[in-house]
Symmetry: C2
Subunit: 168 residues, 2 copies
DNA sequence: TCGAAACTTCAAAATTTATTGAAAGTTTGG
DNA sequence: CCAAACTTTCAATAAATTTTGAAGTTTCGA
């Protein structure tokens, strides 16, 4: 398979993959493009490669920067801004975990705390089922939260090495 | 907070939560409704509680059954079918991990295997960056795949207990 | 300070995804 | 076997999301 073809397939699959994870297709494709690009690209490069509009490109680059996955690069003597993606996949994973934890897991845990204090008699099976379900999710959620904190701080070699050894 | 209100909030939040994870709102809401329901419900109960159409309800129940999160229950003397959700959250998590691994991670790894065999000279930095990126994702992906296999087979107490102790 | 290049914004349009509801299909009990 | 009760399907519709592109703003060099 030729590079051009392989790269296109990677970009397109990464985009489709992203949509299963609540990330929009274009954002994932821009990320894939930058991940496989040896040098930083300009907004115009990205527009052209992916055949998307200026506005769309701009918005999604900005969003990738918010996620900490892409950064602006200034190239001396160039007026335009260039963009580059973090290539160390372990760092990428940690960054995504960190953001999603903050944006999704933590608010959910806060909500569950509130919901657990529902009024009513636990002898009522409706009340009991509700409280037990919420408590169960909360317990697992808190454990996951702590485990993810460790992952976020860990070095790849240590974390993965230990995981593999540990779980044989 | 009253039960009715708390439950509505739970259902609605679970639905919103689902949309960030590639699960449609209604499917997540039906799941939340069943999770917090002490007894099995019929399709009509679900339609009424969530105020959605018969077709929509039916499709999403079927999808939840495909995911292994909900099952049909036959109640003696009743003509209608009843549905109930697995209440053990650890089992729910394992089931979701198992399905997503199969549906998403495994196909992605297969693709990466193929893409890594791109033609070309590694001294070309475009080729090199592409191969290195793909290889990096693949390596981490394979490790994640194995770790998830362990999780899927594990008991909650063992797994979470070890995680917490281990990572202190 | 000005002008052009670069960047950002956002309302409207296009696309994608979810939902409805009526028709077709099944199952069950008499 | 028939009719009633229930379930499933799917084309049409509605809703949500993404994309566009042109107008507006900022930045930089001369």
């Amino acid at each position: 398979m030729k590079l051009i073809e392989a790269r296109q397939q990677f970009i397109s699959s990464w985009g489709a993959f992203g949509t299963h994870w609540g990330i929009n297709r274009t954002m994932a494709q821009i990320h894939a493009l930058l991940l496989t690009s040896p040098d930083p690209l300009t907004q115009d490069d990205i527009m052209e490669e992916l055949d998307i509009s200026r506005g769309n490109t701009n918005m999604n680059i900005r969003e990738l920067i918010n996620w900490g996955l892409v950064e602006r690069v200034l190239i001396p003597g160039e007026r335009k801004e260039f963009f580059t993606a973090e290539k160390d996949i372990w760092k990428v994973v940690k960054q995504i975990v960190k953001e999603r934890k903050k944006r999704e897991l933590e608010p959910m845990l806060q909500l569950l705390d509130k919901l657990e204090n529902v009024e009513g008699d636990k002898r009522d099976k409706h009340v009991k089922t509700f409280i037990d379900t919420v408590a169960g999710i909360k317990k697992l959620g808190r454990q996951a939260d702590k485990s993810l904190d460790v992952l976020i701080k860990a070095e790849e070699n240590w974390f993965m090495g230990t995981m593999m050894k540990f779980f044989k």
